[in-house]
Symmetry: C2
Subunit: 266 residues, 2 copies
C-alpha cells in the first residue's frame, strides 16, 4: 500500500469489522462479545457501536446490540451502482428457462465465492443463494473456477488463509486434492461440484473473462443431485453455459462499474 | 444523544456516507465528485476512499472510484443476522400462491420504505423489489401504512425532510393530500396505492405491529393495474393479508433480532 500515513482511517475499518461480526448465530451481541468477535479493545468496540447506533445501523436492546434494517441499504448501493441484477438476470433467466432449477454469477471475495446475481425456480429452498451470499470457494463449482484463475503463489496464499472443512463427506478438504481438481478445471475450462457444498446440489460452472482473458467471475447452473449427474450437466448444458458466459463477458465489456467491481487475479 | 464527546467516530460516519454516495447514475466517481456528493471536504473524502480501497470495498480505475462487489457482503450480514428472508418468505410465498404477482414486507428507514423481504412471480420485472430496495414512502401502500403510525410531530418532521415529487400523475405530492390519505389509512387499517409509484402497480398493505401495538412494518401484495382495482384487492385479499400480518407478528414476537431491526415510532 502506498498511501501516506494518516490516510488510513482506523475508525472506519473498525466500524465495518463491527458490522461484519454479526451473523445468524450472533444476532444479539453484548459489547464484550462484539469486542471479542471483531478483535477490538472494548473502548474501540464501544465507540464503533455508539457511532453505528447514532447513524441508525445498530440498535441497542437492553445490554445487547442488533443490526438495524438500514444495514440492508449498504448492500443495495452496490446493486444500484453496478446495476448487476438488471444486467445479469436476463441471461440467468434464460438458462433457468432452458434447464430449470437455478443459475448464478459469482466472483471471488477474500476466500469465498460471492454471488452477484442468482435466479432460481425456488425448488431448492434450503441453500438458495441471493446477491451477497457467500460460500466456501473450494466446495462449489463457481469457486473452483475462480481458484483455477489463480497463480501458484496466490493459490498458496488462499490455502494459508482458508479454513478447509468437510461440509459433506464429498467435500475435498486438503490442498493437494483441491489443487488436483483446480488443475483439471484449468485444463477443461469448466468445474463441477457434486454434493460438496451440501447434499443434493450438483452444479457446473464456467469462467467469465475480461478483455485481457483473466477470469473475473464464473457462471453456473445447478440442479438436484437426484435428478442429474455431473456428466449429464456437461453433456446437456455446457455449451449453453458457455454461450451465457460469452454474453456476460460482452455485458461486462460495456459496463465498467460492474466489470471493475469483480475480482481481478493478482 | 447522550454519549460522551469522543464516543462518536467521525471517520466511520464519513466512510459510510462515501459508500452511500454511489448509485446507478453515479457508479464511477472522481474524488471531487465523491467529496461533493458525500458533503465532505476533499481531504476527508480522500482518506475515506483510500481506506475503503485498502479494505476492498472500493476500487480505483484510473482517476475514478467504483464500489467493489464486497459491499454486497455488508447487506448480507443483516440478512443473516435478522434471518429475515427465511422467517418471512414462507408467508409471502403463501400470499403469492393464493393471489399471484408479488408480496412484500417493508419497514421505514429515514424517509423511505425499506423492503425486508419480497416474493414475486417475476411478471412485473420493471419495479421488482428485493431486500434492501427503498421507495418514497408517500407513493406506496407500504409507506402509507408506516406514515399512519406516526404522531403529528413525527409526520411534520417527515414532511420537512422528504422531497415530495410527482412520480406519476397519480402521485400525491402535497403534505395536505398525503395527510388526508394517512388519516384514512389510520381509520381503515389498510392502505392502497394505484399507479402512484409507477404506472401499472396497484397494491394493498396492512400494518405489522409489535406487542405494544406499534406499527413496526407493513405487508402488502401488489398486482398489475390492468388486471385489478384497489376495490378488488380489498374485497379479495384484505382478509388473507391480515392473516399474513398476524402470522408475521407472531414470527417477530419470537425473533428479537428481526423485531428490533425494524422501525419504532417515536
Amino acid at each position: 500500500m502506498e498511501e501516506k500515513k494518516g490516510e488510513y482511517v482506523e475508525g472506519l475499518a473498525r466500524g465495518l469489522k463491527v458490522l461484519e461480526c454479526f451473523d445468524k448465530v450472533h444476532a444479539l451481541l453484548t459489547l464484550s462479545e462484539v469486542s471479542r468477535r471483531a478483535d477490538l479493545n472494548p473502548a474501540a468496540a464501544r465507540r464503533s457501536l455508539n457511532t453505528l447506533e447514532r447513524l441508525g445501523y445498530v440498535r441497542r436492546i437492553d445490554r445487547k446490540f442488533v443490526l438495524s434494517a438500514r444495514v440492508l441499504t449498504l448492500g443495495s448501493v452496490y446493486l444500484r451502482s453496478a446495476n448487476s441484477e438488471e444486467l445479469l438476470l436476463p441471461e440467468l433467466r434464460r438458462l433457468v428457462g432452458l434447464f430449470g432449477e437455478s443459475a448464478s454469477v459469482a466472483t471471488l471475495d477474500r476466500q469465498e465465492v460471492l454471488y452477484i446475481a442468482s435466479y432460481s425456480e425456488q425448488r431448492a429452498k434450503r441453500m438458495m443463494a441471493t446477491a451477497g451470499t457467500t460460500f466456501p470457494a473450494y466446495a462449489t463449482s463457481l469457486g473452483k473456477v475462480m481458484l483455477s484463475s489463480m497463480g501458484s503463489d496466490e493459490l498458496d496464499d488462499y490455502y494459508n488463509k482458508v479454513n478447509l472443512q468437510k461440509l459433506t463427506d464429498k467435500t475435498l478438504n486438503s490442498p493437494e486434492d483441491i489443487s488436483k481438481q483446480v488443475a483439471l478445471v484449468r485444463e477443461l475450462g469448466y468445474a463441477t461440484s457434486v454434493d460438496e457444498l451440501d447434499y443434493g446440489i450438483t452444479s457446473l460452472a464456467v469462467p467469465v473473462k475480461n478483455s485481457a482473458h483473466q477470469t473475473v467471475a464464473a457462471i453456473n447452473c445447478s440442479a438436484y443431485s437426484g435428478r442429474v449427474t455431473s456428466e449429464s450437466l456437461i453433456e446437456e448444458r455446457l455449451e449453453e453455459l458457455r454461450v451465457a458466459a460469452s454474453r456476460v463477458e460482452r455485458v461486462l465489456a460495456s459496463h465498467p462499474a460492474l466489470m471493475h467491481s469483480l475480482y481481478l487475479p493478482q
